[in-house]
Symmetry: C2
Subunit: 343 residues, 2 copies
């Protein structure tokens, strides 16, 4: 077979010595074509490697049976769990999932959105890139009536449900827990650019300090990339402080764990010298010693819920009431040894 | 806009009061259409949400600029690293990546392969599902001349390069290292169904025992799902043994780490009572205490190499010599405290 040549219905017609119109109707299971001819057409199409014409078949069926998901980065157990939950629901509903990562770049997110649109996904799920400041590049989906569901890093939109957790509340609780354990100088490791998620966690931290009559000190706010490497650098910033914190709340676990490891290497005792708390309940949090206090919110459940909402939208295209558009998932404080100064 | 209606070139033609043929030529940048008309056509197409006809545009350009990747499971830092390496190379070359996971099911892999084929990916990268016993479902790509590159879990094929590491050699070395540390009864935690990867690691383990005049004991081969849960179960199997092993070589790190944690909970000292070694150098391996001895092979590098080969194939469609078809990536033994009985 000449790999350069795309097989068309004309090639199939020529091979079977019938008209192209008959081939076309046969492939579309049209009643005017007799069953034997249909079978011959389908067999020849398969044998010759004919690829269904997406435009034509989608115009008829309006379905690709493919759902797209765009995430910032796949590199976390939280996101793996979300995708596992999504896959479970979609598999049961007979859809395939294609995944793309924006690598937290808005330019890449715009490209991927366009590719998914051209690929005619039946629905789209999005957790926005860290950099993204508006969601205009997803408007084509909304206009076209393709269901779009946001999760985790969401964009408020009357037609697009968003599933998230109450980040302010969760980080308020974890900061308050550190204070109750006796911490008076709590550092916060957060992001350079505040996404809605990081901003909300910062807000909760700040409010807990204020409510407990503690000062919010700019020196104790460490803005980083939140990577493993950033955790090590943050440890050195802390080690170099004239007056070190007695507690650290990090906005994600990965960065918290690498920061803890580096401080331990320099003789800092956790939680006695510095208590630690993270966020996400990633696998590492229960491997590091002492185990890391963190906020658990089930990625798997979030994925399941988001996918179910999407499938519902696909099955019922009527509008859903606005009250349905913001879904708060449950989260819980997981207290482990890294924060227990009082035992 | 009526979301049910697909915008066609006829709609654009009607709006601009020109012929559909002119719209079609305008969208394809045909020299017969004047530049002002072209611009009007393109603007109207964007405004109305016209989706490019994949068949037509691919027949012309024969390119979607999309590369597909199918992996067994995204849920490991190894696979995240592979994908990061792939993304880097593809981004630079101007391609978008769509990812699908087979969840190690051959049925799902067959479906996804078909979806990727119909979506006209320009190239495909595959790490086979755990269950897969042949690669017939990828033949349509080969026939069609769409470059296909295997990595990690590969399928030997004269036209499809495979990038892997020498699993026999690496596991021989790590088992030999345990023996040199004084281990005489080394258990091996492996998979129920032996993929080429698990089979090769088993082979290396066996050969190292034989070469060191140690018996291969069936009781010491633990066949599991290799999950975190399986690691805990394996720990209980070991605890219940009349004669416990003095070393354990696990075919992946995740399972090794959970097995170690459970044994530690039951008072087993590592490495004194039982030395441990894993495979993959996942993040957990350097968080668990004692840190886990393992085999490092760079997922990022493997992803980069695989993507570069794919891009080369896309740019030069001529056949590559068979010698090019099996690429062995370097791997190295990372010795940490979990295996150091002799210090």
């Amino acid at each position: 077979m000449d790999p350069e040549k795309e097989i068309t219905i004309y090639d199939i017609a020529k091979k079977l010595n019938i008209s192209a119109a008959t081939v076309s109707r046969g492939l579309m299971d049209h009643p005017s074509v007799n069953i034997n001819t249909k079978q011959k057409v389908v067999e020849a199409a398969q044998e010759m490697g004919y690829r269904s014409n997406h435009l034509a078949s989608n115009l008829r069926k309006k379905k690709s049976n493919i759902i797209g998901i765009i995430v910032g980065n796949l590199n976390s157990s939280f996101m793996s769990n979300v995708i596992a939950g999504v896959e479970k629901v979609l598999s049961e509903a007979g859809y395939n999932l294609i995944i793309s990562q924006s690598l937290d770049s808005v330019a890449k997110e715009v490209n991927i959105a366009q590719a998914m649109y051209n690929n005619r996904v039946d629905g789209l799920m999005v957790s926005l890139a860290y950099e993204t400041e508006n969601a205009d590049h997803f408007e084509s989906f909304v206009k076209r009536g393709i269901p779009l569901v946001y999760f985790d890093r969401v964009w408020p939109h009357p037609k697009c449900p968003g599933i998230e957790i109450d980040n302010v509340k969760a980080s308020y609780h974890i900061t308050d827990h550190l204070i109750k354990q006796g911490c008076k100088r709590i550092a916060h490791i957060t992001a350079f650019r505040l996404s809605s998620v990081a901003a909300d966690r910062y807000k909760g931290y700040e409010q807990a300090l204020i409510d407990n009559n503690l000062r919010v000190e700019e020196d104790l706010i460490l803005r980083t990339q939140l990577t493993l490497k950033a955790g090590i650098e943050a440890a050195h910033t802390i080690l170099a402080m004239a007056k070190r914190p007695d507690g650290v709340f990090v906005t994600n676990d990965a960065c918290a764990v690498s920061c803890m490891q580096e401080l331990k290497r320099h003789g800092i005792r956790i939680p006695d010298d510095i208590a630690f708390a993270g966020f996400n309940n990633d696998t590492e949090a229960s491997i590091i010693e002492p185990n890391l206090t963190t906020v658990n919110y089930k990625g798997y459940d979030m994925g399941e819920v988001a996918a179910k909402i999407l499938i519902n939208r696909l099955n019922n295209s009527e509008n859903v009431s606005p009250a349905d558009n913001k879904l708060i998932q449950k989260s819980e404080l997981v207290i482990r040894d890294s924060s227990l100064k009082k035992k």
